[in-house]
């Protein structure tokens, strides 16, 4: 079973204001996802669960042929006790005291490096596809959930020699857990937007 988005249509964030431009020898872009940290995303963050965001930038040419791909990954967590949002990425981490400051950092996403200008040399009609995958329940969290479901009789007080389960219950749990795959327990939202690449960039 593949993971699926279960948000209502009006709750799904949308990518807007995609702009592709040249900065010196680089091609960059900017865009917005105004409602990114709302609805299920906000509630998930505030519950303490980590939210993973994967931004995938694709240059696509004629017949949707992919010319180039670039990926940025983020991990956002909220420490309830310290009331602190932490955003981790490959280049380091940022901390925010509240959700608004996190949202302001994110929107708009500006000067996101896509490629060098030469990458678009002699490329005909092309466009940029931005695909943002927001993982509300990662495979790791899904595994924790699955473990909790099938070992919920165990408590922190139980000693290794104590076994409160009947043999039948334990065996049934093991049997059921065989059919559960952690990837099937994951939840994610996918948001996508496209923009043509200006001719001025391709003809340098």
């Amino acid at each position: 079973m593949s993971s699926q988005s279960l948000l209502l249509a009006q709750e799904v964030p949308e990518i807007s204001d995609i702009q592709v431009y040249q900065v010196h020898d680089s091609v960059k872009c900017s865009f917005r996802i105004p409602d990114l940290f709302s609805g299920d995303v906000e509630e998930t963050l505030l519950s303490g669960l980590p939210v993973l965001i994967e931004e995938r930038y694709l240059y696509q040419g004629e017949q949707n042929k992919t010319i180039n791909t670039r990926i940025h990954k983020f991990r956002i967590t909220y420490d309830i006790w310290e009331d602190l949002f932490t955003l981790e990425q490959a280049s380091g981490f940022h901390q925010f005291p509240d959700l608004d400051s996190l949202t302001r950092w994110w929107n708009p996403r500006e000067e996101v490096f896509l490629s060098s200008v030469s990458r678009l040399e002699n490329v005909g009609e092309a466009f940029l596809t931005i695909r943002v995958r927001i993982v509300l329940l990662s495979r790791a969290e899904g595994e924790k959930l699955k473990d909790w479901i099938f070992h919920s009789q165990e408590t922190e007080e139980s000693l290794p020699t104590q076994n409160r389960d009947t043999g039948f219950t334990l065996n049934l749990n093991r049997l059921l857990s065989i059919f559960f795959r952690k990837e099937d327990v994951a939840r994610e939202i996918i948001v996508q937007g496209m923009s043509p690449i200006p001719e001025s960039i391709k003809k340098f």
Binding site: M1, S3, Q4, L6, D40, E43, T44, S47, G48, L49, I80, W81, E82, L136, L137, E141, G142, K144, L145, W148, I149, E156, L175, L176, F179, F180, D184, V185, R187
Partner: protein, 515 residues
Amino acid sequence: MNSIRNKLIILFLCITILPLIPLAWIVNQLVHYSYQIGVNPSVEEALKSGIDFSLNVYQQKKQHLQETLQTIIASEAITEQIESPETTLTLPVTLLPRDDGEWRYKGIFIFNRNLKKKGAVIRGGVAPPEISSEQLQKFFSQGIEEVVIANRAQNLFYAIRKLPENLGVAVLVASLDPSFLKKSDHLLQMYKLYRSLHLTEVSIPRQFLYTFLALSLFILMATVMVATWFSRKITGPLKELVEGTRELGRGNLDFRVQLQSQDEIGDLAEHFNQMAKALKDYQERTIYLERMAAWREIARRLAHEIKNPLTPIQLTVQEMVDQYPGDDPEYQKLLQECHGIISEELENLRKLVHEFSEFGRLPELQLSPRQLHHLITEVVRLYPHQTIECHFDPEVGEIEVDEDRFRRIIINLLENAIQANEKQLPITITTHKEEEEVIIKVTDQGKGIPEEHLSRIFQPYFTTRSGGAGLGLAITRRMVEEHGGTISVQSEVGKGTTFTIKLPVKKIGKGGTVK
């Protein structure tokens, strides 16, 4: 036969699959319903309330820690020494407050405005991990007066506060009651799990449904195996019966179905075998009766054709003898001898004709109740020079028989026994009553009958003796069967022969049918 097997398998599958469809729907509904019992706004509300409460308590504790640090900074021990040019401060151990039930104080560190450590008070002689200089620098650069930096994983809290007039920074290190941290973390963990359950409100019930379907598929496969085995158990015997019917149709009346079943199919097989035996017996009897009818027709014709010339021959020979004047005594003597021989042979022919005639046309059965033992005894008396032992069952009383024919039966059997009894050993006659039958056995200790002759011994014109017509046992068998009985023979060469007659004790109708 395969179609019945397939039908049974399909039937089993239908019985298994059809309930599965509503069952799957019910299971799906139940799982969703169960899910909603635990995953609903009221539960979320309760968890959030618990989290909020814990957060409040946590903030209060941190506030308390900060206030404690403030009190320490305001003490004379600090204020008197803080402007001292000494690089280190001598701080009394009493500066560090006692554990107050909320916090376990581990140490105090004083830093100058250059963030160099000037003094410290440590409880227990074991220094807690110090706050990093980066964190201190960050605090200083943020321009705030106080902060509590928490390291919940190690249960270490650093309350940081600026000293008056920016002379430096004081850091109070303490630990919370571990049980509070544990319980609040546990509460948060549960809230996260609740949130996870909420996010998987569709996928997890679906997984349970798929699990149910997978297990059902396993059960289905087991059902197919059981159905296949069961259908083989049912159709196998039926196949045997079909084969048996086919063999009977081909005329193979010796075919028997080999089944050991105790149920209705076993009964059917047993009755099938009985039917096959009855058909074979009927076939053999029909053949026998047809053969007997043919033999009787021949015997009747022969008797008729031979009988007629006998008297003219006798008279002619007599005339020849009477008309001779007797001139030649030698010739007259010859004539008398020839007359004697011819007369003797004619008499033999008459006997032969009589036997043929008797075989060809036996008179109607004249039944009347008779004491068998008396009849047998009367016949035995006809053979005074032969040792005949009689063993009679007192249970045998009167039965309906044709008196003359019964005597003839016993006479024929005794004649055969006597002729075979070369050593003049005793001949035995026994009677025995069994339910609806009387069994009569005539046993001799003669030379016996070879096995290859046993099956033909009751056939007309079969004889191993010279001079016999071979009709005696054929006539005996016919007379026994007219009484509704049976006759059989057991023999062993060199040891003797036993003829066994079984007569019904019920009333016998015409044609030998038992009423």
